[in-house]
Symmetry: C2
Subunit: 437 residues, 2 copies
């Protein structure tokens, strides 16, 4: 993409309405714009990040055996009356009347709807287990939306739902998602720690939140330091095998959010192993048995023809919230530092002298060659001073900058800068190609 | 994907609520389920088709120079008051009050919102032209939703908006989309004919609908037969060059929807060149000048610093509607016939004897090899009779069926069936691999 043509309205000033760093940086880097209180439009650069997060989430869901569907945003109130949650849900539910005065709502979650789809489509124990997910916009009418996309009203979420014939199956489904979540967040460059959690309005008796650590986190968290160093990506995972061992490894060490915190147990740890920090919730998983399947009559025929009420769980990842969460966990004074896997572009070519034909030609050649190899490249061909380009590139956080100027080029060199470390190297243009392909 | 594990609830019976063939087939083939009047959930097989259509639309938008953004579904009523459309829009707009009693709405289209994003982000003529699109769910509260996803209430649409410094630029942007639309529909295997159209509530004085011909189409259309045979995909398109010649080629022959029909002009054609048929609208493009930019003050600084009101156009493709439209245009008595480019899977492997180890092994080997080559394969490993498998495969319309049975396998052969032509061939398993890679 040529930056001179790109819709990327960056800002020099810090927007006054933004209280936290991710919100400020998302506005300044031209990722989003607020269109109403707590509702955002995603501009091209921000949408690329959002899609990358979606892609990682999707790949890990598919690998763990979940199947993707897509449920609508608008639901019927009657559906929520079946589970008894319609009246209980409170003012965060956006309630709507259509032109025929039918009561509708903008879905804040989808337990009821997926249970109906399952109930109508699956009739036999032979068709179990099933795990269905979707990535769809939800709405929660927060009384005071704030912190940008971290606590918006319209937000993108991956939610899925597992259906099993018995509790043992349901726990296996839960464990699959537990491990898939560890992998998902690790691939995004995040240290996400599962913490035993309260089940809230979803219900059930087994639940973990996945919390990333960030100084600016919304809540206090307490855990064993060993959890921070654990690495899931180096393991080979077989989702059809028993995963309880891995889950135990991650849950045997102390970890709790403020509301579940047991100060006595925490303080029993040696002081050097205690970590009291702040965290941001990016995922939440629940096992709730027959809480929805029973009132909604989601049953299958068992081996002997008997009716069996299915055991369910649900699993959520805040996809749009993660954009803010990753920035909270990965930025410096100059701007965002995107982890490779979700960066909007992997490489930026910074043309220091756009009116110099040789420099322009060298940039274009690099751009074409990298693009042909499938690398996402942003080409800063704008007619502005180098200082402005450096500042913008650091602000928007592309992992690698390839800086091309007339002096270096005359010596057969371009400069490669790593956004995270700030390390610069002089290399020949053809080495750039080898490095990023 | 192994069909024994896939969430694909097909139906033998014709659902009584479905009046048209695409609706019947979408329910029977397990593509969608209705969750409220005119609102559908997409099951795994249907979602794959929807995503394929999105992909083609996206690729052609990007190739034509449009940039993707994502605007939210919920908009503020105040935004629509700026253009004067809030009161004018009528009961098809789903109006909502949030918990603070603020007037909101579920966007039926996005002219107002994109104009604000443009106005806030673009300040100089040097940043023009711009063409921004998104693919997002919309809502129109139809009084009587019908025909499945063809006339649903919540629907997925690609809409984009062009911004130019003058009318000549705006016409070029219009022509780019005109050509991009021809390519988009042609890639989906559709004969889409651009027809001069009424501009309706969007406004403006230049507009074309893109209509696909289908016996079951919703409206009468009249055109010159030559339009049906024109081929855009064999041309090389340079979107930066003048495209008026191509547009003229497609618009110089008679074509009109019922409401714009000029019976006298049509009947002046030789009888053999007249085509009176039925059609389905799948796209609509508009040039409307300053209809929104003027009241909403979307201006840029010109070369001399003067304020210039930008010229705009908007362009829509009904993405979810296309799933129904393509089925209307491509089906037979046995079911759906998916065009290759948007088929949910390209190849289905039909295992005629799942309890036969040799057959199962051969199927798995084919499946693994094709999948490794990047081919999307559905493997029918269900424990049901061959007749049921053949019927389901024809119903769901996978372009190629590879049929593996014990007798053929003993002779070193499998059968390859083309869904569209019905032609069957016996080939060696290794030839299957060569054919689909």
């Amino acid at each position: 993409m040529r930056m001179s043509q790109y819709f990327l309205p960056t800002m020099k000033e810090t927007p006054s309405e933004a209280q936290i760093v991710s919100h400020r940086l998302m506005l300044r880097a031209g990722l989003v714009r607020q269109t109403s209180a707590g509702i955002y439009a995603w501009l091209p650069l921000g949408l690329r990040v959002l899609r990358n997060i979606e892609r990682v989430v999707r790949e890990e869901q598919d690998a763990a055996g979940a199947q993707e569907v897509l449920m609508p945003t608008i639901q019927s109130a009657d559906l929520w009356r079946e589970s008894g949650r319609y009246d209980a849900y409170g003012p965060e539910m956006l309630r709507i009347k259509d032109r025929h005065d039918r009561e509708m709502l903008y879905g804040p979650t989808n337990e009821e709807m997926i249970t109906v789809l399952f109930r109508d489509g699956v009739k036999s124990y032979r068709d179990l287990p099933k795990n269905l997910y979707h990535i769809q916009w939800k709405f929660r009418d927060e009384v005071r939306p704030r912190f940008g996309v971290m606590r918006g009203r319209e937000f993108l979420m991956k939610d899925n739902y597992s259906f099993d014939i018995d509790k043992a199956g349901a726990i296996h489904s839960y464990n699959r998602m537990f491990v898939a979540y560890l992998r998902t967040f690790a691939r995004m460059g995040l240290k996400a720690i599962p913490m035993r959690a309260d089940t809230g309005p979803i219900g059930g008796d087994l639940s973990h939140e996945f919390i990333i650590l960030a100084e600016t986190g919304e809540s206090a968290v307490f855990c064993h330091k060993g959890l921070v160093d654990k690495d899931i990506l180096s393991r080979t995972i077989d989702y059809s095998a028993d995963l309880q061992g891995i889950v135990n490894e991650w849950t045997s060490l102390y970890a709790a959010t403020d509301e579940m915190h047991d100060a006595k147990a925490f303080e029993a740890l040696p002081e050097g192993e205690r970590l009291a920090a702040r965290g941001i919730e990016v995922g939440h998983i629940f096992y709730f048995g027959t809480k929805y399947s029973k009132p909604m009559n989601a049953v299958v025929a068992g081996p002997g023809g008997e009716q069996i009420t299915v055991e369910m769980g649900s699993y959520g990842i805040g996809v749009s919230r993660l954009v803010g969460g990753i920035i909270e966990a990965s930025h410096d004074d100059a701007g965002i530092v995107w982890p490779d896997e979700i960066a909007p572009f992997k490489v930026a070519i910074v043309n220091l002298k756009p009116d110099d034909g040789a420099v322009g030609g060298a940039c274009q050649k690099l751009y074409d060659a990298l693009t042909a190899k499938g690398v996402d490249v942003l080409h800063d061909d704008r007619d502005i001073r180098p200082g402005g380009k450096f500042a913008d590139m650091d602000l928007i956080g592309i992992p690698w900058q390839v800086i091309v100027g007339p002096k270096g080029l005359a010596a057969g060199k371009v400069e490669v800068k790593n956004r995270k470390t700030g390390v610069r190297e002089e290399v020949a243009p053809e080495q750039v190609l080898a490095r990023f392909s």
